[in-house]
Symmetry: C2
Subunit: 242 residues, 2 copies
DNA sequence: TACGATTATATGTCTAGACATATAAGTCAA
DNA sequence: TTGACTTATATGTCTAGACATATAATCGTA
């Protein structure tokens, strides 16, 4: 006898409740600040138990679409200060996804005690061992990106013996180091002599720069700078309300 | 008599279960691909009902830390192909947050029937009215960014009469148009004569370019290109595992 | 009027069951 | 060996309750 059986219920009930509310928020019918019906009202409307509407509302709260306040009710949240999800694919995956042949070339690899510059770049105080790597990624034999990386061996001792002449350090780290946090800084530069030669572009051509600093629970793992020809590369970020 | 009462239970039970599992994944104790104990095993271990462990596991699945497969079990997921949350602050907020004086200047505003180029840029087929705006944002009187924007009036009719000589179109839209989806493309260029003059930089200097295309439920709202001096501006994206 | 105590209430969490459903694994025949 | 059928099982969803807890609203008092 519940409404659930009356309406088309291909998706599950809690999903339909969530979608219903989401739609009203997205269309602006329920603007930011608007109070969503109480759980017991939704229970009556959908003819289901409270746990079911609770699950729908909890997921909306987790997605930051609504805010739940005890005793007060649930409210539509103001659109989040512009934020976008930037998908930064593994370079190899990115290139093969474009249907192009991936090429990798190790240019330089050195194991050394961290210099002052290295420590600064990694954000560590005490001097330990590091690996410095420079390599080039290419698509169909055309230079695609130059990678300049520093790995902290006190965090990733295995990196000392890893063979980076075949496997890019990014892929290796992805498979050998569990979960991380990272911070990216994106900027633009013009190619100097050295960069231009490495990327096979003209001196003075624009380059997109991504500096990525990676750590796990307050422990530095790696710092990397990626240089892309600015006119050929595109970073795409998508965001969906909230 | 449940274990819940025996151990310190400051947070709630399902949160502790979730945290326990999350910790093992983050430390690498349970590597990607590892099968997490079945729900009924966790029920036995924590001495609670299945709904409680189900809630913990569901949230971990929503956070993409684990993958759940019917009949097979739940498995630790491989670190998500690099993804980062890019916070794109409103330019005014960004500048004032830096403790600098925000300046805004409308350079050009024109209401016109969409040209072929406009339609292409907005991704619409039929020709309607649009507003084209060029403006400049500055920090402490120094040019900070040039904004070149197109607003589709069939989606946002109010924009025809909005006063963009005082308020930047970005802020205006944020407050007048509900929830949106957007796609950003980030690239690098070198400044041509026109850009160099507008940003008060040298011709040939690097610029960071953000193209943002915004819509709501398949309806185009606005397309904007933001040009920043590449050496002074930094886009920061952070990501936390998954 | 302002402040402190009380109460009502919406959400937060949890239980002990139930049936649905996708699918890995085993079974058997061609 | 392969393919079709069956079965066991882990997750997915749902119910009808329960008590906990934060807090908005009310009421009483200084």
């Amino acid at each position: 006898m519940s409404l659930a059986t009356e309406t088309a219920d291909k998706p599950t009930l809690y999903k339909r409740i969530r979608a219903d509310i989401e739609k009203r928020i997205l269309t602006g019918e329920w603007p930011p600040g608007h109070r969503i019906p109480f759980e017991h009202e939704l229970v009556a409307r959908y003819g289901c138990s409270r746990m079911t509407v609770n699950k729908a509302l909890s997921e909306l709260a987790q997605a930051d679409l609504i805010e739940r306040r005890r005793r007060a009710g649930s409210f539509v949240r103001r659109p989040q200060h512009q934020s976008a999800v930037l998908k930064i694919a593994d370079i190899r995956a990115e290139i093969t996804a474009l249907g192009r042949a991936y090429g990798y070339e190790l240019i330089h690899r050195k194991l050394r005690t961290a210099t002052a510059a290295d420590r600064d770049r990694l954000g560590v105080r005490k001097a330990g061992k590091v690996v410095a790597i420079t390599c080039r990624h290419s698509a169909d034999k055309v230079p695609f990106a130059i990678e300049d990386r520093l790995i902290d061996l006190s965090s990733v001792p295995d990196a000392a013996t890893a063979d980076f002449s075949r496997e890019p350090p990014g892929s290796w780290l992805l498979h050998h180091v569990p979960w991380t946090e990272a911070e990216h800084t994106i900027s633009a530069i013009v190619a100097d002599d050295h960069t231009a030669a490495a990327l096979a572009i003209a001196v003075g051509a624009p380059c997109l720069v991504i500096d990525r600093y990676t750590w796990r629970s307050a422990r530095t793992i790696t710092a990397v700078r990626l240089l892309y020809p600015g006119d050929s590369h595109r970073l795409v970020a998508r965001f969906k309300g909230g």
